[in-house]
């Protein structure tokens, strides 16, 4: 079984590598997932997990993923907001699969997934 001692080794390892995560700068993409009762009940957790997983897999250093409270449109949850290129994109009725597609097409390649945006639903 893993022990917390392994964390020490991990810290040493991480110290030696320079982290460019903290110097993301202006091209940073911010992603927020609604995580109030409405979001959680509608399945926001698997969506958040999928986003984090994609960011890890692709080693995306300029993406910050966080959770937020009730966005105010509970019937459209799970909601994911993407702040990119000075614009806000609101994706609604998200699922883990849709979240992965948004990560691929929009966050990485810059093409918003119009079919999931709030205007289309």
């Amino acid at each position: 079984m893993k022990s917390l001692e392994e964390l020490r080794a991990l810290r040493e390892k991480m110290k030696s590598q320079t982290d460019n995560r903290s110097v993301a700068g202006a091209d940073e993409t911010v992603i927020k997932v609604g995580m109030a009762t409405c979001g959680i009940a509608a399945g926001a957790r698997p969506v958040l997990d999928a986003l984090l997983d994609e960011a890890d897999k692709r080693q995306l250093h300029n993406v910050s993923i966080s959770q937020t409270g009730c966005i105010g449109m509970c019937r459209l949850e799970p909601i994911v907001e993407v702040f990119k290129d000075g614009q806000k994109f609101t994706y609604v009725h998200m699922t883990a699969d849709k979240a992965r597609k948004v990560m691929n097409d929009h966050v990485v390649n810059g093409n918003p997934c119009a079919e999931y945006l709030i205007g289309e639903n």
Partner: protein, 184 residues
């Protein structure tokens, strides 16, 4: 809400909104007595008696976007519909304690669900608060204290960094499997 873990996440979000700096989450199962107990204790802003009396009413909420607040009512319902009890205590300026118990074998008891995932999400996505998460079943017990983890990692390595998250994910899962063995 189909998992108790999601209820725990939801109630803990209240603690975070209350400005808590230390949140203790305990899940303990006693299979011989057939009782599961979940407690969430925080040192947030707490609430006065008047608010406390109304807080399990779905039409009470602190949010400003609408008039409905389902978190505590759903948690209460999950316990009371599974042969258990629900209690909430709070003191203004000191903190809040929410506890629920369940009859493990009750047909309407929700599964615990992905508690490991919820624990991971809480500790990695809330840098402003410390967590002490404990799981207990018989003589098996485990605890994750973010104060301890932060001390080991030192300054400059956040809990949200992918390497740490990966470690914590496996650490939490292994311990939970060892303690509850998928029986909840």
């Amino acid at each position: 809400m189909r998992e108790l873990a999601l209820n725990i996440l939801d109630i803990t979000e209240n603690s975070i909104s209350a400005g808590a700096t230390l949140i203790e989450i305990g899940v303990s199962a006693d299979f011989e007595k057939d009782v599961l107990r979940i407690c969430i204790v925080d040192n947030g802003c707490g609430m006065d008696e008047e608010m406390l009396a109304r807080v399990t009413d779905p039409f009470t909420t602190t949010r400003t976007t609408r008039k409905v607040g389902m978190g505590l009512p759903l948690f209460k319902f999950s316990a009371e519909s599974a042969g258990g009890e629900f209690s909430i205590r709070s003191e203004k300026g000191k903190g809040t304690e929410v506890c629920a118990s369940y009859q493990i074998s009750h047909v309407d008891r929700m599964p615990l669900g992905d508690f490991g995932g919820v624990a991971l999400q809480l500790v990695t996505m809330n840098p402003q608060a410390d967590f002490r998460i404990t799981a207990e079943s018989g003589d098996r017990r485990g605890a994750l204290d973010t104060r301890e983890v932060r001390e080991i990692l030192g300054e400059g390595v956040p809990l949200s960094s992918p390497e740490v998250r990966m470690f914590l994910k496996e650490y939490i899962q292994e311990n939970l499997v060892d303690i509850f063995g998928g029986r909840l």
